[in-house]
Amino acid sequence: MIDVLAYALILFAGVAVIWGLVTAIANKPPGKAQLLYAAGVEVVTVIQSIIAAAKLAGGFRPVELATTIGYLIGIVILIPIAWLWANAERTRFSGIILAVAALAVLAMTLRLLVLWTPA
């Protein structure tokens, strides 16, 4: 975990949450830019998990190792699944689905920051 990257991801995910809600309120399915943005958030999420995995491999030991590993794996599958699920039926609710996934990524990153304490 790198604090700056985590805070950036929290910000990016927060924007994705708001964007998803905005298109839902406007009664539109997510546009191309929004879907690309969600993919971008996913790329940052994957980078964060890879860096954290490298640090774990390098000998860093957080207090709750198993939980931390679970979070690092779980966090990367949320947006891809939500992306497919949101696109299979494109309505205003697709935006809310993307928002829910981004909110989960945001919450899990906050939790990871807390978990990332040396044992």
């Binding site: 939500a82 309505t91 609710f93 689905i97 829910v100």
Partner: protein
């Protein structure tokens, strides 16, 4: 399915649970299926002896969320019934475990998604079964 035999095939009696707002419900259930199952797995693998009952209930919660996610996502007549059963168990679970964890915190040291009515997850575990039942009611047809 006795219903399927008595109802004419051509008449759509039920609305699909996996369409429109229902897709958001499925997404939220999916996240809780992942969260509860992963949490229970970690608990059972690393410290099962500390609180076997709480961790078994944790695993049960995960299983219920998985069943609810799949059945709501399928949206068939048969899967609706399973969804109804799963969501009722979920509601009973979150209320009873929530109450037990308040009355006897020693037995449930913040160990399950349902502890203190899901306080660790913004009380979503308490709201979710109510929304689930409301959605099944809303899509029940006439």
């Amino acid at each position: 399915m006795s219903d399927a035999q008595t109802q004419p095939e051509t008449k759509p009696v039920l609305r699909r649970t996996n369409s429109g707002a229902g897709r958001v419900l499925v997404a939220v259930y999916g996240i809780f299926a992942l969260a509860a199952t992963a949490r229970a797995s970690v608990q059972m693998l690393t410290k099962f002896h500390q609180a076997p009952l709480a961790y078994l209930l944790s695993a049960l919660a995960g299983l219920i969320y998985i069943v609810a996610t799949i059945t709501l996502a399928r949206g068939t007549r048969a899967s609706r019934r399973l969804a109804l059963v799963a969501i009722i168990i979920e509601l009973v679970g979150v209320i009873s475990i929530g109450t037990l964890s308040v009355v006897d915190p020693e037995a449930f040291p913040r160990a399950t998604v349902w502890s203190v009515y899901g306080i660790g997850y913004g009380f979503v575990p308490l709201v979710l079964p109510i929304l689930g039942l409301a959605w099944l009611w809303h899509t029940r047809g006439s």
